[in-house]
Amino acid sequence: MSGGALSTLAIATLAGALRVSTPFLFVSLGECLTEKSGRINLGNEGVLVLGAMTAYAASYHTGSPWLGVLVAASCGGLLGGLHAGLCSLTRINDIAMGIAIMLAGTGLAFFFGKPYVQPSAPLLPPLPLGFWSDSPQIRSALDVSPLFFVGVLVGIFMTWAFQNTRSGMVVRIVGDSADAARAMGLRINLVRLAATAAGSALAGVGGAFLSLVYPGSWNEGLSSGQGLIAVALVVFARWDPLACTGAALLFGAAGALGPSLQSVGVMQGYYLFNAAPYVLTLILMFIAVAPGRRMRGAPGELSIVR
């Protein structure tokens, strides 16, 4: 492979990573917040799809893509609230309920989204960070969406808040030991409701990115399971919001590597590259988990780590 092809590959992968990783970033931060409070929400896949649809529809009708992002976040919050409310009843399996919410969210999005497949809505404009370069490849690669930076800031804020604020501590206590939380007089279900709704609102923003930035249109095949993959991604990042940011970039880069390789003529192993993040997560779990020991950073109340 020549130097030219190699730099093309690097630029294409970088550009792809920044674009592909943003939905991962938002959903995984949302999932991280939910899981920190001791509950898992597989429904974020449905939230993602519903967020993508509502954002596109709102942007189409109002002409303001930022309003679309807001609508997506609110719809996500509502669906997350429904999940949390139902899960606070006794003996409800949060994993199964998440799958139900996923189905309902996807169904609602497809149902109401039918009229929006054809028309084109105003998209979120990117920040042209490649203005200094003459190369059109670099310029287009560095057209980064402002939502990406919002996501990074949210990740930094969450890390800080978990360590330094009262609400962050409350979420962690509720997630780590329901008994301790009860003894402190915390209202467990309320905290989880808030964390799940906020988490799903973030996932909704991730969906808005899909329809308003990249790929930048609404259709039924928009999500390729990012909401479910986020669950694995949070395990991979060991429930650390900053690590979620890094992991989202890594998953994005791995996802972008296949198409980039194709663009320079390497056709072999396209699908195997797609599987790379999952294999990586599996290996990490293998190393990190030992019988009788919990994963470092894992919330004690979380059903999937007990």
Binding site: L86, L89, T90, R91, I92, N93, I95, A96, M97, I99, A100, I101, L103, A104, G105, T106, G107, L108, A109, F110, F111, K114, G225, L228, I229, V231, A232, V235, Q268, G269, Y270, Y271, L272, N274, A275, Y278, V279, T281, L282, M285, F286, V289, A290, P291, G292, R293, I304, V305
Partner: protein, 372 residues
């Protein structure tokens, strides 16, 4: 869930041993597990009617169309049965590990790999008579499915890895391997637009049940559900599984081989899902391609939870879901509703049935009574 029902069963047995105080408890217990899902279904139907009314559509029209499209004629009934049959097997892939308290959601991986194994092996043995080819294909599908989900069980048993996350990851890995092989080494050069493996040959296809258009996968699925019902509720293996699911410590203290039970239950579930993939190849598509990853594995999760992990309960629930899916087309044409309407209805049903889980043991009338 399992632990509660098992504990209640044991309490009931203990009470029965004390004396004939509450002779109709068994009847009320059966009523409870039949009435609560029924109420949940009605609640979902009511919520969905409200949804339709808000959109200015008639709920009565909708439900009568669903009935006609799902069960109204011989054709629609056969369509329903056709759609229900893979779901019977993929639901078992969830329900069997669930007896041990495991939530395995990666049946989709076993379905695609099972189908791929069946499609890959058929051309190698095409000289054999069709019945032998079919049996070898079924064994290949079962074996690869059992291996795939059994591996998840092994990781759970030996390394304490969470089976839910691992099965999810493994499903994505399986689909990647499937795509790689179908578009690479095993691709039929003649399949241009939709990469597929070679045809398994018309004579090796499974055909239809006599007098119908329904393929034998339905019969296999029904027999599998009955077989696993007997295995779980009428054998010591099944009892050991349920004890482990109910109380892990108790099972360990009893000296039950918990690790092996986990691996075997997962492998049996995987074999079912792999068989579902093989049947899809051998009875519907005739080759392995992307149509195999149609979400049967994920729909199976839904049905297993609706059936409360009871293999016999899977039968009506698969029929219900298959029927709703089959009626999607007619609803779309007659009422001008999008095809996603049935998806919304399914979501509502799923949420209602899962939420009704909280009612078990809460209604006093169903509970054992002290004195008569």
């Amino acid at each position: 869930m399992t632990s509660v029902s098992l504990a209640r069963e044991l309490t009931a047995t203990a009470r029965a041993a004390e004396g004939p105080r509450d002779r109709f408890y068994w009847l009320r217990k059966r009523l409870e597990s039949a009435l609560i899902p029924l109420v949940a279904l009605l609640a979902a139907a009511a919520a969905f009617s409200l949804f339709l009314l808000c959109l200015g559509k008639s709920p009565a029209d909708f439900f009568s169309l669903i009935w006609r499209g799902a069960f109204g004629s011989a054709f629609s009934l056969q369509n329903t049965l056709q759609r229900a049959s893979p779901l019977l097997l993929t639901a078992l892939c969830v329900a069997l590990p669930a007896q041990l308290g495991l939530v395995v959601i990666g049946g989709e991986g076993a379905v695609v790999l099972g189908g791929l194994a069946a499609a890959a092996i058929a051309p190698l043995i095409s000289a054999l008579p069709p019945i032998c080819v079919q049996i070898v294909m079924a064994i290949a599908g079962c074996a690869i499915g059992a291996l795939w989900i059994g591996l998840i069980g092994l990781m759970r048993a030996r390394r304490s890895l969470n089976e839910t996350i691992v099965s999810l990851l493994m499903a994505y890995i399986a689909i990647a391997i499937f795509n790689h092989i179908v578009e690479g080494p095993l691709r039929d050069p003649a399949s241009l637009n939709k990469p597929s493996t070679r045809d398994i040959n018309e004579i090796n296809m499974l055909g239809h049940l006599p007098g119908t258009d329904v393929h034998p996968g339905l019969l296999i699925g029904i027999l599998a559900c009955i077989f696993f019902y007997v295995l779980i509720y009428r054998t010591s293996f099944g009892f050991a599984c349920r004890v482990t699911g109910g109380n892990l410590r108790a099972a360990q203290l009893q000296g039950l081989p918990v690790a092996w039970l986990v691996v075997i239950a997962c492998a049996l579930g995987g074999a079912c899902a792999g068989l579902a993939g093989m049947i899809e190849v051998a009875a519907v598509h005739g080759k392995a391609n992307a149509s195999l990853a149609a979400g049967y594995g994920y729909a199976g999760i839904l049905i297993a939870f609706l059936a409360r992990q009871n293999p016999l309960g899977i039968l009506p629930m698969a029929l219900l879901l298959g029927g709703i899916t089959a009626a999607g087309g007619i609803v779309q044409r007659r009422m001008g509703l999008p095809d996603a309407t049935v998806l919304v209805l399914q979501g509502m049903i799923f949420i209602a049935i899962l939420a009704s889980e909280t009612l078990y043991g809460r209604i006093a009338w169903f509970q054992p009574r002290k004195s008569a």
